[in-house]
Symmetry: C2
Subunit: 557 residues, 2 copies
């Protein structure tokens, strides 16, 4: 990416017939380190939009007479689509695994046929944990330009999908600009626009207005819809005793509608009609958690779990149409209640991918909810949640700006990657190992460049040690040259690999601490060992007692 401060150490590479993208990070020894990448092709103008990479793939399916374009449908027919091959290459796994996970509903590739610009990605517990960023205006804030900028900023920082949650002006136009410029799938909550259609009067919502909205948004290219079809009339009283009632916009809207009409939720009663729209375009369900807990006190309550059961029923119904499904989840959940959420969801919703908002592990830190929720998010992803919806520092306080989007994204890439490590996801630990090796060897630029935010890491280092020489220094301002543990440890390594140490024997042996026992015929005797060690100690001191070991990548002492 052309980012001068990063000194052109990150490049986007596309490989193979499908032009599968990755990032290559250049290291100081000339090697490169590859990472998964989301920011998409560069150099186009927003008015032109991105290249339509998928148009041909879809055109072929239209030509052969497909009427159900869903990736699940293709997978269940035994087919490996271009999208499946693409994500397999991105994930470093086999296309067969992708197909099988799609067929059983344990993963989804949200990829509306009318969003040909997107680079396919997969959401499922067997793949890297993904992160969604929310953008979108409200009546009180933001413009189209700002929202497109936020999109590009969010994918720059690693957003795997982006939801456009606009509730203000120009919802449709904003979304068009976003879609045509987005390399990632876009999700929406159609009830917002449907509400706008009926002049903002909740009671005037109808299934007709809603289906019309779905059709329009699907035609534009939205790849998944959050649909609060699980908010049933009879569950609404369960929320009255809560500390925070209903905290979901869509959930509160549907609850109000139900009460105003004394009728069941029309999203539930007309679910099949909704399915008919979605399957034409391969739009996936994100079955909304309208009754999610919005405070620690409400976590895991009966309202929340009642809705989960309904979502399980709706999952099966969607799968009868081969429509892809993921399940939305909480919210605010203290750490000891997190595992139960995943266990229930997996069982009740037939292992459909789980997509949670955090959860926040405590309520007490407004202004820092990217951190309170990164804790819960890491844990819930470790247990199997496939995608995390980010939370920014502005949560509960106002609409996020660009910096909030970045802070939220970094916190959530941390949570997602921590979960990948904890799950033993193949290859996940390579980045940690490569960065830590660079750190220990004082290859500062490599350490920065391998991190999630190289410019910030570099700037933090430079606050106290800005001069170029510091980038090969064997210390930083935390400890200074005399006390740097890594520097001292390098010396220790050199000394501790001499013969007198390889023959120290089993460190766990129950012998007195000072002298080793002779373990085998070819070891030195105790006296000989003492002699060797004394000699080594003298060498060490004679050499100045500061044996400087040049390591790979350093050119000066």
């Amino acid at each position: 990416m052309s980012d001068p401060a990063s000194k052109n150490t990150r490049r986007r590479i596309e490989s193979g017939d499908l032009a599968v993208p990755r990032t290559e990070i250049s290291l100081s020894d000339g090697s490169t380190f590859s990472t998964y990448e989301t920011w998409g092709p560069e150099g186009h103008s927003p008015t032109d939009g991105l290249p339509s990479r998928r148009a041909e793939w879809t055109a072929r399916r239209v030509e052969r007479g497909d009427t159900n374009f869903s990736q699940m449908h293709c997978a269940r027919k035994g087919e490996i689509t271009e999208e499946m091959a693409f994500v397999a290459a991105r994930e470093g796994c086999s296309p067969e695994l992708v197909r099988d996970e799609l067929a059983r509903g344990r993963a989804i590739i949200p990829a509306n046929i009318n969003h040909p610009e997107l680079e396919p990605m997969i959401i499922g517990q067997k793949f890297k944990v993904k992160v969604n960023a929310n953008i979108g205006n409200s009546a009180v804030s933001s413009s189209i330009d700002e929202e497109v900028e936020k999109l590009q900023w969010a994918v720059r920082w690693g957003a795997d999908t982006v939801m456009d949650l606009s509730t203000g002006k120009n919802i449709k136009e904003t979304r068009e600009w976003i879609l045509r410029n987005s390399p990632v799938p876009i999700g929406t909550v159609p009830i917002y626009e449907a509400l706008e259609k009926v002049g903002g009067v909740v009671e005037d919502l109808t299934i007709e207005a809603y289906l019309e909205t779905l059709e329009e948004q699907a035609q534009q290219g939205v790849s998944y819809f959050t649909i609060h079809a699980g908010v049933l009339l009879r569950a609404i009283p369960l929320t009255v005793k809560r500390t925070c009632g209903i905290v979901s916009r869509g959930g509160s809207i549907m609850a109000k509608w139900c009460l105003a009409h004394h009728q069941e939720n029309f999203l539930y009663t007309h679910f099949d009609a909704i399915c008919e729209v979605m399957k034409k375009y391969d739009v996936a369900f994100s079955l909304g958690d309208g009754l999610r807990p919005g405070s620690i006190a409400d976590a895991n309550d009966d309202a929340q779990f009642f809705e989960l059961e309904v979502l399980g029923e709706l999952t099966k119904r969607a799968w009868e149409h081969d429509i892809q499904v993921m399940i939305e989840g909480p919210g605010h959940v203290p750490m000891h209640k997190i595992a139960e959420n995943v266990e229930r969801q997996m069982r009740v919703c037939h292992e459909a991918p789980f997509y949670t908002l955090g959860p926040l592990a405590t309520d007490i830190a407004p202004g820092y909810d990217h951190i309170t929720s990164a804790i819960g998010a890491a844990i819930i992803a470790q247990h199997g949640t496939a995608m995390l919806c980010y939370v920014t520092p502005k949560e509960h306080l106002g609409l996020p700006d660009k910096d909030d989007v970045k802070q939220g994204m970094i916190a959530y890439k941390i949570a997602a990657h921590s979960a990948d490590l904890a799950k033993g996801h193949p290859g996940a630990q390579e980045r940690d190992n490569t960065l830590s090796k660079a750190r220990f060897e004082f290859r500062w630029e490599d350490q920065f460049n391998l991190g999630l935010d190289p410019d910030t890491a570099r700037a933090f280092h430079d606050e106290t040690l800005p001069h170029e020489g510091a980038k090969v220094a064997h210390f930083c301002s935390m400890c200074g040259p005399a006390f740097c543990a890594y520097r001292i440890s390098q010396e220790v390594n050199e000394l501790a690999t001499g013969p007198e140490f390889t023959q120290l024997g089993n460190p766990h042996a129950e012998t007195q601490p000072e002298a080793p026992t002779a373990a085998s015929p070819d070891t030195l005797s105790r006296d000989q060992l003492d002699e060797e060690m004394k000699k080594k100690a003298e060498e060490f001191r004679a050499g100045g007692g500061e044996i400087y070991v040049p390591v790979r990548g350093n050119t000066s002492s």
Copy 2:
């Protein structure tokens, strides 16, 4: 605290004969909410220092002829000291629990008799999880004034203890200023100053120089010493194969000394002499984890666990002198390896309190290690770790400044409190509940003031809605007035408590969604119920469809 931006809503209150402090947060209805508080008395000048609240308590023990002043010693004699009564009042538990936990070594009250200014606090798994902040200069950075300011800043943000890790100039003077102004126990790593005494030459360290340093620091009033007595000669080769060798300053210093002299670690071989110094002043051991893992790759390796076994042995030896002990821990540990750390430590170290540095759940985010480690810290505390040593955004990059201290403190108060919640610590959830209730009722000022950082929460809110009226508004810029879920939810609550809903029956009953079954003789018939509901719906619409429910604390609609 006199903090104009907080509008004087937080006051420090001292209660009872022992003047036990707490914070009271004033809420909009005139009530107050109490929280644990660390920032100490106000209004003194740094040159005067804090009042010597404990001087009398200690004087009485000197008069009666005590030679071992350790709180553990007193507890084992069945005594409840003023310190024990003080912490019991702070923690909201019985003094007997405190005494029993101290006697069995599962908790410590670090309280050097020569630090009479400190307000006693307890570290143990049965009490609130505590947080330590590190301050201190290095050869490259910082001055005495800055370090005292950092101390005051750290306790302002909730630090329960502070470690002075200075390695630069004026170590002793800096420490004196810190101690005389600190309401919290101070910890140090004496090997740093001992090294300064021998001109910075590691090989010239001697037990004599070290004991001299211990005596001086203990006389000044340091309440706990980090001592790397577990770094044994024969374990050092185990670190050579690591990605990051030895990352502990003290650990690397002792390892180098061992290799230079081909001798066992003098801190281990002279452990009893060290104990004799510490028991005179009631200084506690913080048995150092010199071989802790400094990267994900090194987590839970044989070097780390070898040292843990030695620390277990040393714990027993210290307890023979009734010297209080806590055990330091990692480091860098992926989430799935965290539980094992606590399980081993509890078993091997006889349940002595665990005091971990994070751990970081991933290495890939330099610049954000307060977040990578808040994740691991929350989890390890949930499992029983008693105190967490904070990590700032500057970790691995340079010495932290004031803002870094604040960011690290907030991240760690979040981690500690999340763990308290997950452990079901009595009373912990009150703050979350009270804040969430304020949030749901749009009592914005109450929400801000109950949070960890009221000024930041307020400022974030005001970025988009600065005018005073917004502080009683039933929305914010996230969603705007029409889409605010809490606002809509308030209306839903009002409607859903009418009789037609309390008679909807069991929401889990397997009936068709639209109509309830008559459950008992005194319920309305189905027709009557429909009639009631239609009437209610008409009332709702006739009333404008926007039933505004005034809630406590709001004065305008």
